[in-house]
């Protein structure tokens, strides 16, 4: 099959899945089989796409041209491929998890849930394969809208508030700042194509470049750089599979992915470095890393703590992008992968605890490790990966990010990274530590082993296994990231 059809299929399969889910709404078993099947199909497509890419095949696919010179364009590009390589398999795993979770939690409106979920994944893959900034923006906005019903799923006043914050910040920043930045870029350079070396070099006064970069950085609300991070904790009212795949992987990574793409292909690293464009902006990322970690420590609600942890971790990637040197970009790109597998495991665990024991607060989980040893054990593995302890995958991205900071001579940023690792230990390891070693203060904790539904456990085991494997074998991701940053 031709490469262009493979890329198109990654976009069409989720849409077709959404349609089938809507049609088969009456037969839950049939309906629930569609998402894993589609996830599997995507996985089976992105792997050969990767192989073809490594064999040297390139692709540029123009579909329509809504505005002159601005086609809807998809291309095979290393960073996008890296992103798609984690989204496909994780959709498969999450949909397995979701079946167990949604059924044991007796959620309403499951048909709408799965259909919108599939559309969200479709737009994420569209973003991954976008060939120009316009297409990326289109997919970015579809993703915002299609995740809204997922966040508002519960229909409670609390969900209404959360969904409102979610939409207000994401749409507000994307229309108010990002669209403006895109139109300015277009009027300066006459194109929005992603080109190696950037399209703004020599066309924009370096003094203004910083302002434009700031418009992009804050306009991409999905990257959750403070002060536009509030939507992410607000989105935690959604069912756990949504928090796990969308608000730890697909949605937030679309944001940081966009930051990386803009840094590499719109501004160009050379332009960034010679003019010190991110000189003062980089401190927003640094501050976000630390502040979000500090806030995470104060949160007793497990999902909320994880959400702030995500805010902090996203800024690692943004920081890597703004360092704009090879190691920094490599670290940022790798952190997309490493953080994805670790954070999704943590969310899976939070959801597993919720469906099994109906507990959401960390203080209530004291001693729960004896009841759910597997869940908390896997939580521990993922936490260690996130902290960056070998032999887990999370080490590599932190290593390269640190290296990037050293190369740039930013010692203060290096200490931010190290300090944040310590904070990670404090707020993440506290959870399993309490669960395993704490004494239950009341009798509500059952004494026998009572684990989460099997499909939830399987999903968690797979993702935490991936954390381990990625330490020893991360070649596909590393080589893709290296190609993207223009290294050897």
């Amino acid at each position: 099959m031709s490469t262009s059809w493979l890329v198109l299929f990654t976009l069409l399969i989720p849409l077709a899945a959404a349609l089938l889910i809507a049609l088969f709404g009456r037969w839950p078993n049939l309906r629930d089989a569609i998402s894993p099947l589609a996830g599997g199909a995507i996985t089976l497509i992105v792997i050969p796409l990767y192989q073809r890419f490594q064999a040297g095949s390139r692709l540029e696919l123009n579909l329509l041209e809504p505005l002159p010179g601005l086609p809807i364009q998809f291309e095979l590009e290393p960073l996008g491929l890296l992103f798609a390589l984690i989204v496909g398999p994780l959709w498969l795993i999450t949909s397995l998890y979701a079946i167990g979770y949604m059924r044991s939690h007796h959620e309403q409106n499951q048909t709408r849930f799965y259909a919108m979920f599939a559309i969200s994944i479709g737009s994420t893959l569209g973003a991954a394969f976008s060939g120009n900034l316009f297409t990326l923006f289109l997919c970015y906005e579809i993703l915002t809208i299609s995740t809204y019903p997922l966040v508002a799923h519960a229909g409670t006043p609390e969900a209404q508030r959360g969904a409102r914050t979610y939409l207000a910040i994401l749409l507000g920043t994307s229309i108010g700042l990002l669209l403006l930045a895109i139109i300015i870029t277009w009027s300066i350079s006459g194109t929005l194509d992603f080109r190696p070396g950037g399209i703004l070099n020599g066309k924009l006064d370096p003094a203004w470049a910083g302002v434009l970069y700031a418009l992009f950085l804050f306009g991409i609300g999905k990257a959750a750089v403070m002060p536009f991070h509030r939507w992410l904790p607000a989105a935690m009212v959604a069912p756990t599979p949504v928090s796990a795949l969308l608000h730890a992987v697909a949605v937030v990574k679309t944001g940081v992915f966009m930051v990386l793409k803009i840094t590499i292909y719109i501004f160009g690293t050379e332009f960034m470095l010679t003019n010190n464009i991110s000189e003062w902006l980089i401190w927003f990322a640094g501050a976000t890393i630390l502040l979000a970690s500090l806030i995470a420590m104060t949160k007793d609600n497990l999902k909320e703590r994880l959400a702030y942890s995500t805010v902090s971790q996203l800024s690692y990637i943004v920081l890597g992008a703004m360092l704009a040197n090879e190691a920094g970009l490599l670290g940022g790109s790798l952190h997309i992968v490493m953080h994805a597998f670790a954070k999704i495991t943590l969310f899976f665990a939070a959801g597993a605890i919720l469906v099994t024991t109906h507990k959401t607060e960390i203080s209530d989980m004291t001693g729960l490790g004896r009841t759910m040893p597997l869940t908390f054990g896997l939580f521990l593995i993922a936490s260690l990966s996130l902290i960056g302890i070998p032999p887990l995958g999370g080490m590599w991205s932190k290593w390269y990010l640190g290296l990037g900071a050293v190369e740039a001579g930013q010692w203060a940023l290096l200490s931010v990274l190290l300090l944040s690792s310590l904070l990670n230990i404090a707020y993440l390891l506290a959870v399993p530590a309490r669960a395993f070693f704490g004494k239950p203060n009341n009798a509500t904790i059952p004494q026998q082993i009572k684990e989460a539904p099997r499909s939830c456990l399987l999903a968690m085991a797979l993702t935490s296994l991936a954390c381990l494997v990625l330490f020893f074998y991360s070649t596909p991701f590393t080589s893709l990231a290296l190609t993207a940053v223009g290294g050897p």
Partner: protein, 492 residues
């Protein structure tokens, strides 16, 4: 034969059909005739557009009297395009009208309703096609008088006051226009637009011409509900029968914008307008209109009134586009005329379908309806996204050109204000979406069925058009650009 008389047929066919519908015995027959007439008008209008797009300008001498003595119908890209918008809106509204009108209007009035509707269509098509400013005034009155009658047919008693308010304001506007026309006639002795364009420059210095210009601008501004002169519009849209709200929202103000463009660019020429503070006024009123009307919209509790204020805000965008005085700005205006017709008609249709089932346009009666009427809900959301201007919808194309026109002139403030207007649109659109999506705790679980197909199909056709024209802009943008550069250089 038909091709030769195409332009006049567009006006004459609905005009002649109007009295016939009045004497038809059964409401459904009247509807059927109106349906046939509107669809044939649409075909004629598309045919006409094709002729014009092939590079011709149609000039038709009414009654064989050569212009400038006789009335001339002169059709170029711009008004052929507007005529298609008007005819298409009528054609798509009519299938929707059958059920909606039967529910909202007493049976013995229905034939008269369609008579007035056809007259209104005649008037609007006439305004777009004529090349004679007095004839334009006549058609403006035909469309206005029939729309006063149509609005007064609304179900609630407030419809009468709304119609009366519109009547007063509309008449003031028409009178101003007439005074202006009279003044320039006294100066030049001609009423033909092209002839005026030739003769007026020699008397540009005269104060009478300046006065006439001011009278005409204010008269038209009243008709198009430009911000401080918009007071008639919210009431009229709120209390009119749903079908009329759909039709007027998509056409009446757009035609008035067209008149504005024609007067400024063809009759008086941009050179004259640039000596007056017109563009600055347009910018100022456009900006204030966008912001204020959007704020008003946010605080409405009645869906129709909310959308009506949103229309005032959207008119602000169109006027803003004229105010830039550049080809890009004019392109944005013309594109937005078309796109706004698409989105507002779709929105009012979706709202109308909800009203059809619930019998109320107040938001408080709509809690949780999204689950019971998912198709209507989805239509409302997509059309709403188009109104906001999200990429992938027609509204985005308008926003893009508007912001690009602002950025082109390094007018950052205006660019930001346009985007802020979009954000305000998010707030008022989502106000409706939230009400429909979330269930109120104390609503009774009364079963409400999805809207009938006859209402849903036209709604969804428009919704799909909103998406289609968000991806394929060959038709809209190309025509708009041709029309804009034609206006700018004043070469018909």
């Amino acid at each position: 034969m038909i091709e030769q008389h195409l332009s006049i047929l567009l006006v004459v066919v609905p005009l002649l059909a109007a009295p016939i519908t009045a004497i038809l015995p059964r409401p459904r027959i009247a509807w059927l005739l109106t349906l046939l007439i509107t669809w044939s008008c649409l075909l004629l209008a598309i045919w006409q557009l094709q002729i014009v797009l092939a590079g011709n300008t149609i000039s038709y001498d009414l009654g064989g009297w050569a212009p400038p003595w006789g009335i001339e119908y002169r059709i170029d890209t711009l008004n052929a395009f507007i005529a298609v918008i008007v005819a298409a809106t009528a054609a798509i509204t009519l299938p929707y009208a059958l059920r909606s009108v039967e529910q909202e209007i007493v049976p013995q009035h229905i034939p008269l309703f369609y008579t007035a509707f056809l007259l209104c269509l005649t008037g609007l098509l006439g305004i777009t096609l004529t090349g004679d400013i007095f004839n334009l005034f006549v058609f403006l009155e035909i469309s206005s008088l029939s729309s006063y009658a149509l609005i007064s047919m609304g179900r609630q008693r407030q419809a009468l006051t709304a119609a009366f308010q519109y009547l007063v304001m509309g008449t003031i506007g028409a009178t101003f226009l007439l005074i202006g026309i009279g003044l320039i006639y006294s100066e030049t002795g001609t009423l033909n637009m092209l002839d005026l364009a030739e003769r007026l420059p020699s008397v540009f210095e005269h104060r009478t011409v300046h006065t006439a210009f001011a009278f005409i601008m204010i008269g038209v501004a009243l008709k198009l509900a430009l911000f401080p002169l918009h007071l008639w519009l919210p009431n009229a849209y709120t209390f009119a029968p749903t079908v009329i709200t759909i039709f007027l929202a998509a056409t009446a103000t757009k035609v008035a914008i067209y008149v504005m463009l024609r007067m400024v660019y063809t009759v008086f020429s941009i050179g004259f307008a640039e000596d007056t503070p017109l563009n600055e006024m347009f910018m100022l009123l456009g900006v204030i209109g966008v912001l204020m009307a959007s704020f008003y919209a946010i605080y409405q509790t009645n869906s129709k009134r909310l959308l009506a204020y949103s229309s005032v805000a959207q008119i602000g965008y169109m006027v803003l586009g004229i105010g830039f005085g550049s080809v890009l700005g004019l392109t944005a205006t013309v594109v937005h005329i078309f796109n706004h017709a698409l989105m507002k008609a779709a929105l009012f249709m979706a709202v109308g379908a909800l009203i059809y089932r619930v019998g109320s346009s107040r938001l408080q009666d709509w809690h949780g309806l999204g689950r019971q009427m998912p198709w209507t809900f989805a239509a409302l959301v997509i059309a709403g996204l188009s109104l906001i201007g999200l990429p992938g919808t027609a509204g985005f194309i308008s926003k893009w050109y508007l912001v690009a026109a602002a950025v082109e002139q390094h007018n950052w403030l205006i660019a930001v204000i346009i985007l802020v207007g979009s954000l305000l649109a998010v707030v008022y659109v989502w106000k409706m979406v939230e009400v429909l999506f979330f269930r109120d705790a104390n609503t009774t679980t009364e079963v409400i069925r999805e809207a009938p197909l006859l209402l849903l199909v036209p709604t969804w056709l428009l919704v799909l058009a909103n998406l289609y024209f968000g991806f394929n802009t060959e038709l809209t943008v190309d025509i708009a650009r041709t029309a804009a550069s034609m206006l700018e250089t004043n070469t018909p």
